[in-house]
């Protein structure tokens, strides 16, 4: 092999190696861990976080919340005197990635609990895997109900819980509030819906349209865009032409940011009241900048909530991540941190990590968390929790109204097949 050829091969190999090392890897302290070396009494929690792809902002927040929970639990002696270890794997925002990482967490890391993911499709991909392996799984982002048993939609799962709020818990009170806020005299309230073309936005907007029609609103537009869309100008023109009172944007992640940035250029913000579901999470609002000004949203958490648990949590977050400009949002707080703390309480109540004992302990379990008082609904495994209407000003969430504790009705609209 000539010298030049050898140099070329080395260069190629080095570049590929460095590129591969740039890919996400599990926490470095666990990368070499195998079943043979794992401490027997250690409790391992697997975190399915979308750290790349269109939901990558949420993935980082999920991990940050999980790490704070891990540190807090270990500071007080772990769970049932066993140290807690969090292992985070990147789902790449794709269902196939979520499924592969779930298998890896279960088979390689032998986790006793799974939390995550970043999208409804990813969660639906994980549920049959965790159910077959009898590993409790708390899906920690907002989304439609997914806690029915696969193949038996009338039966609540023994292995799946939802810590986020569902559309049934948020939409009606939010629409009623916004109608009261923006209703023009002697005119029916006009609403336009747009969303990303996948499970969560379609199901959420479908229910929102149903509620809007029940409330007597006029739905003047309804459309969906694939997540690769980068030019929303024609959509924004259609919205301006329709002249709604309220625009509901259900376009989580980077695509929602792009939409709002382009809406700002066409002056949509000043003409239409804007709200939405999952579009205006903390991670997206930081990237939206001034395009998020004045937007109303409904969510389960604001870092401005005044209670002892949140005060302590925000202080810990700031201390743990002093170089991060991001304050904790719902994904970090309620999504990961809260889910792990409630699960820890259930493990302690059960006295073991046996999945059936865990299930029994979770029934009706109540706890005060940064977002408020939370109860695990025994009828459907979805966390009952307070909901808040917030308005975004200077990229911060200001609580406008406390809607009180909301619960999801039974297993209504469960999307698990």
């Amino acid at each position: 092999m000539c010298a030049r050829h050898r140099t070329s091969s080395v260069t190629l190999a080095l570049t590929v190696l460095v590129g591969a090392l740039g890919c996400d890897r599990p926490n470095s302290t666990t990368i070499d861990r195998s079943a043979a070396t794992k401490t027997q009494r250690e409790i391992t929690i697997g975190v399915l976080a979308p750290k790349s792809g269109f939901m990558s902002g949420h993935g980082n927040s999920i991990e940050m919340g999980a790490r704070i929970a891990e540190a807090e639990l270990n500071a007080r002696g772990g769970i049932n005197n066993a140290p807690v270890k969090v292992v985070t794997l990147d789902t790449t925002s794709e269902p196939s990635g979520a499924a592969d990482r779930a298998r890896e967490l279960i088979q390689r890391f032998h986790v006793q609990l799974l939390i995550g993911t970043g999208t409804s499709a990813s969660t639906l991909a994980v549920i049959p895997i965790s159910t077959a392996a009898r590993v409790p799984f708390i899906y920690s982002l907002d989304g439609e109900c997914k806690t029915c048993t696969p193949g038996a939609p009338q039966r609540t799962s023994r292995y799946v819980w939802g810590s986020g709020f569902t559309e049934r818990m948020a939409i009606r009170p939010m629409l009623q509030y916004l109608e009261g806020r923006f209703q023009k005299p002697s005119k029916r309230f006009r609403v336009y819906f747009i969303g990303g073309d996948y499970v969560y936005p379609r199901t959420t907007n479908a229910y929102a349209r149903q509620v809007a029609e029940e409330l007597g609103f006029v739905v003047v537009g309804n459309e969906y865009s694939d997540t690769s869309t980068r030019d929303y100008t024609p959509v924004i023109r259609r919205i301006l032409t329709a002249n709604p009172d309220l625009l509901i944007v259900t376009n989580p992640g980077a695509s929602g940011v792009t939409f709002m940035r382009q809406a700002l250029q066409l002056g949509l913000n000043g003409k239409v009241a804007i709200s939405g579901f999952a579009t205006f999470d903390q991670e997206a609002v930081d990237a939206m900048g001034s395009a998020s000004e004045g937007v109303y949203c409904v969510n389960r958490y604001s870092n401005e909530l005044q209670n002892a648990e949140n005060t302590a949590f925000v202080a810990t977050f700031r201390k743990s991540y002093p170089d991060k400009p991001l304050l904790p949002g719902p994904t970090a707080a309620g999504g990961a941190y809260g889910a792990i703390l409630i699960a820890a309480r259930a493990f302690e109540k059960a006295g073991s990590t046996d999945p059936d004992s865990f299930h029994a302990s979770m029934q009706g379990l109540a706890m005060n968390l940064p977002q408020g008082h939370v109860v695990v609904d025994p009828a459907n495994n979805i966390f009952q929790q307070p909901m808040y209407i917030m308005q975004i000003r200077a990229q911060k969430y200001h609580v406008v109204t406390d809607l009180g504790i909301q619960r999801h009705p039974d297993l209504e609209a469960c999307s698990v097949q």
Partner: protein, 302 residues
């Protein structure tokens, strides 16, 4: 009438944006025959550079130019250390290597800046009212910049000794070498120039996009479509000899402008007519049809 005026304006904007973000890839692929899988990441680097410089108080225009220069320097570095050692192999090594570069850039951005993203306020806000049709002022800036860049590239390639050297190297590198052209320098500056244009495109797109570590992925896909559909050269009609002679430089750019028109223009028009997702499907259908009917590019070169 208003609908068609608005649709035309939006299509022109989409074509201009696509041409701007594709011209860099066109140059590097046309010149080196290298599939630069880090094209999207260079665009992302440009966006992040302008975001950070604007946050530091730089005027947007200066920050955007600086972003182009910095990404151009990065491109020159990549050409020297990654592409040049592998270029002679004439296989897929450079594709793989630039893919690795892209991964490193994406993860590096995520490590340094975090995954949440940045924002850049447009330097020009507000809308122009063209009758009843609002048209963003910043879009005027985008279209004008794209036109200026294309004109500058056209002039460089058509009317300067540098351009003749570049076109000669694109046409036949071996013959160019025999004629005394230092093609190593041509490749270096060509790749750096393509990278600089891509960085500039990323900077200009930042105010109307989500500036995230993976923002370049979708734009890169469209850019590749433009270059592949447009092709790399033109077969002039037999009776168009005089025109070809007069406009010979323009034919270097004509293929990729045609590609940008098909990809960007069709998607925008269809979006206005039938909605976003059907528009994407329609555009992809047209691209496939074009590749089937004109496998050597829309303007049918060799």
């Amino acid at each position: 009438m208003n609908f068609w005026v608005a649709t035309t304006l939006d299509a022109v904007t989409a074509i201009a944006v696509l041409a701007l973000l594709s011209v860099g890839l066109y140059i590097t692929y046309g010149l080196l025959r290298v599939i630069n899988m880090a094209h999207g990441e260079m665009l992302t680097l440009g966006a992040y550079t302008v975001a950070r410089l604007c946050k530091a108080g730089w005027p947007f225009a200066v920050a955007a130019l600086a972003a182009g220069v910095l990404v151009g320097i990065f491109g020159a570095l990549i050409e020297r250390t990654v592409i040049r050692p592998l270029h002679a192999r004439q296989d897929l090594s450079t594709l793989l290597a630039t893919w690795g570069v892209g991964l490193v850039v994406t993860e590096g951005i995520r490590l340094v800046f975090g995954p949440s993203g940045e924002f850049v306020d447009a330097p020009l806000r507000g809308v122009l009212m063209l009758g009843a049709i609002p048209y963003p002022v910043f879009n005027v800036c985008l279209v004008a910049t794209s036109a200026l860049v294309l004109l500058a590239v056209f002039y460089l390639l058509a009317a300067t000794p540098v351009g003749i050297t570049v076109r000669a190297t694109m046409e036949n590198p071996r013959l160019a070498t025999l004629r005394g052209i230092n093609i190593v320098n041509v490749y270096r500056w060509g790749f750096a120039g393509g990278a600089a244009l891509t960085g500039l495109a990323g900077a200009l797109l930042a105010p109307i996009s989500a500036v995230t570590p993976t923002m370049g992925v979708e734009y890169a896909t469209l850019a590749f479509m433009v270059v592949i559909v447009g092709g790399l050269s033109v077969r002039p009609a037999a009776n168009a000899r005089h025109c070809f002679t007069v406009l010979r430089g323009s034919f270097v750019l004509a293929p990729f402008v045609a590609g940008a028109t098909l990809v960007g223009g069709s998607r925008s028009v269809l979006n206005s007519l039938i909605g976003i997702t059907p528009a994407t499907l329609g555009m992809l259908g047209l691209v496939l049809l074009a590749l089937f009917l004109r496998p050597n590019g829309l303007l049918g070169g060799k």
